[in-house]
């Protein structure tokens, strides 16, 4: 069996194991039913909950739209983590890079009056550039001083979020008549078109063409890795920096370039949220996406296709979780538990091996993230 299939099998098994454990949690926390000794009731809650999870993620066009809406920023931010990781860098700074891209995209979105055919790409470009510049900082710090990117990207997340809060209150960004940190709306010409525009004016279909941007970005990531000298250099450096240096690669500038590329992906994530979903920016525009992206990249083993699939899975869980909460009393927080369990089982390959009695080694499965990049 080839490595890809093998790792895919383990990933699937981890998801299954997480669903089983979550099922236990749903049953044992159904206090009312259990208190009455009504196990049938508890199991029917479980059934309703998982049915809701499915219905809310893939059960209708609206559900699919919600899944896509959730997956879009996760995919772009996931690429930011995956691409840096391919170059041996552990990018915890997707949040900060998203915020940088959100702000630059937002500014181009409201500061200019242009036809959409120019305005949309220009605003997206601005978001990518904003993220790239912000992402390059920890790369440059590591290349020049050896400062570890894990520390610097975490610090820069803090810097970014407070800078954004401050910016949103300046005259330039502030929305007329509001005192809190919330921005002006972008021009309609800068808004990303809805993905299901052909369905007429259904305002419940939130999915936007940021998803197409994310798919293109995934393709670009694949192309970079497989078809370019830069991707070859990034990967060689990521696997073995000494050998890359021996081969004449400029490993220090590669650190900066790799982080800039990662930042550009995250910047697009921020930009697509502002230009596609909200139409404005607030301090919480990045939310927890930058951190969830680490789990997305981990689950996707940092490959383009893996990141895509795991972003869709996480998007689906998010969308389905809301439906589950509506249909049953199971809170959406269970989704956080479920995601944590998936990551847990991915990180504990031997456990999954033991549970499912998989023969052979867990090769191609464990150690998705080797150490701390270093």
């Amino acid at each position: 069996m080839n490595e890809t299939l093998k790792s895919l099998r383990f990933t699937l098994l981890a998801v299954v194991a997480a669903l089983v454990v979550s099922a236990f949690i749903i049953v044992i926390t159904d206090i009312e039913a259990l208190g009455d000794g009504n196990f049938g009731q508890a199991f029917s809650t479980l059934g309703t909950a998982y049915w809701g999870l499915f219905k809310g993620s893939f059960g209708s066009l609206r559900a699919i739209s919600n899944t896509i809406t959730g997956a879009t920023p996760l995919l772009l931010a996931g690429l930011a983590v995956s691409s840096a990781f391919k170059a041996g860098l552990f990018n915890i700074g997707a949040t900060g890079q998203m915020l940088a891209g959100a702000i630059t995209g937002l500014w181009v979105g409201f500061a200019f009056q242009l036809p959409p055919i120019i305005h949309v790409p220009l605003a997206l470009l601005a978001a990518a550039v904003g993220g790239a510049l912000f992402g390059a900082i920890p790369g440059a710090l590591k290349a020049r001083t050896g400062a570890h990117e894990v520390i610097t990207t975490i610090m820069l997340n803090g810097i970014a979020s407070f800078t954004v809060l401050w910016l949103l209150k300046t005259e330039l960004f502030k929305r007329e008549g509001r005192d809190d940190a919330i921005s002006k709306f972008v021009e309609d010409s800068a808004k990303l078109p809805k993905l299901f525009w052909f369905m007429g004016k259904r305002i419940d279909l939130l999915a936007h063409t940021g998803f197409i941007v994310a798919l293109l970005a995934t393709f670009v990531f694949w192309w970079l890795l497989r078809k370019t000298t830069l991707g070859f250099e990034m990967q060689a450096t990521g696997f073995n920096q000494e050998a890359a240096r021996y081969a004449g690669m400029k490993t220090k500038s590669l650190m900066v370039v790799s982080m800039a590329i990662a930042g550009a992906f995250a910047g697009l994530a921020g930009g697509s949220e502002v230009l596609g979903l909200y139409g404005y920016a607030s301090g919480s525009v990045a939310g927890d996406i930058g951190f969830d992206a680490i789990a997305v990249a981990l689950l996707g083993r940092s490959t383009p296709i893996g990141t895509l699939v795991s972003a869709l899975l996480f998007g689906a869980l998010q969308a389905g979780g809301r439906q589950m909460q509506v249909d049953t009393d199971v809170p959406i927080d269970l989704i956080i538990v479920l995601r944590a369990l998936i990551v847990f089982f991915i990180a504990a390959p031997l456990l999954v091996k033991a549970i499912f009695r998989v023969k052979g080694d867990a090769k191609g499965f464990g150690q998705t993230f080797r150490g701390w990049g270093g």
Partner: protein, 506 residues
Amino acid sequence: MKFELRGITKRFPGVVANDNVNLEVSTGEVLALIGENGAGKSTLMNVLYGIYRPDEGELRIDGTPQHFSSPADAIAAGIGMVHQHFMLVPVMTVAENVVLGVEPTGRLGSLDIDEARRMVKEVSDKYSLELNPDAVIEDLPVGVRQRVEIVKVLMRDAKIVVFDEPTAVLTPSEILEFFEIVRSLVAAGRGVIFITHKLKEALTIADRINVLRRGKVVGEANPKNTTESEIAEMMVGRAVQLVVDKKPATPGAAMLQVKNLSVVEPDGRTVVDDVSFEVRVGEIVGIAGVQGNGQTELVEALSGMRRAASGSISVADRDVSHDSPRERHAAGMAHIPEDRQRQGLVTEMSITENLVLTRYHDAEFSQGIRMKWDVAAARAKELVAAYDIRTNDPSQPASTLSGGNQQKVIVARELSRDIRLAVAAQPTRGIDVGSIEYVHSQIVKERDAGVAVLVVSTELDEIMSLSDRVLVMYRGRIVADLDPKKVSHMDIGLYMAGSRPAAVAS
């Protein structure tokens, strides 16, 4: 006690690592198990030590079948193993390490360190191992650490002691001491299995030699009436040239000129000290020396991996002292690095990718930023065939290759392009006989094609047989410039140790 392996077969997906292997060893004798890297020696040892279970066959002690499901079972049955990589806690003392896991305890379970010291002393004296129980491991040389491992095994009362490539980490004099220890073990009625790929050592110490090739025992030899080349032939499966076959050199103009080169460590130590030499077109210059006398740093300075503190390096009369590694590649310098896993290869990447690692930016393999992977794959196919790299599929990761084949990947990559100077550091370290022969012949071929070659090696045999001229490095300086045909191993050994043979002293 007689320990037997009967019909041991162990399969892994896609390979039969051990194929119906029979061998036996009794107390009071030394059995050498010899084979190339990848012949199945390590798998066999893991089977007899209880780490792997054989798919077929059984282990017997004095005729009774044994079922080892863990090393603990093997230890209990009287099998001890001294691993190639020591398992010692560096910050603890010899006594503490030896009793780790089987600590003698006093009242309330407190560690009775005096008892531990006494036990170490007793075993050490019995086999004249000369160990100080209170010495801290990290202060001890490698040869002494190995003796600590031996004591660990003896304390657990092993009747059969297995040594896995024990001499790989030892200096020549430590190897002689090690042989003495093996002899005293045998004299005390223990049996020894000695795993190695070094022919000379097997012939020196073993009572019997078993040769393993592709998972099978292909022959048994008696060291008293066998020669090195006979065993080498059994190992490789064909006649092997153990001596480098080359014509006299016809050196031309100077290609590499090194003048007053010094390299200083960040802590201020001078590791290469005012070194000057030249390598001419069509000659092989060997640099001999005990590991750690500045050879590594010299090569790093030559290849551009490290800045020299002073002095100059020129290739074909062009000063390359301040050039980057890539500029030096472009100037016609090939570099076979001393550590193939750390520098020479990205083992996680495919063989094809590794074959273009230093050349991917050439117009042949890329255009702008677009890689021409189809061209690279075609080229890899050619190189795999031309340089005899044993693989079915160059798109497999380089880590799937044996050490010798990994080295051939580097040799193919570095020597197949248009070069004028080749710097080869430890070109045959840790690779099998067949591959050594091949790498040497390629180096000689380059010399005959008019390339200047610098070989750095700590293997004196290699330097002596390959070089047209030998430089000896000691404490960062070049202390001798010798003709290998006119100087003995012994004299070079003296230079390497920092003294000067009486006959040539001036």
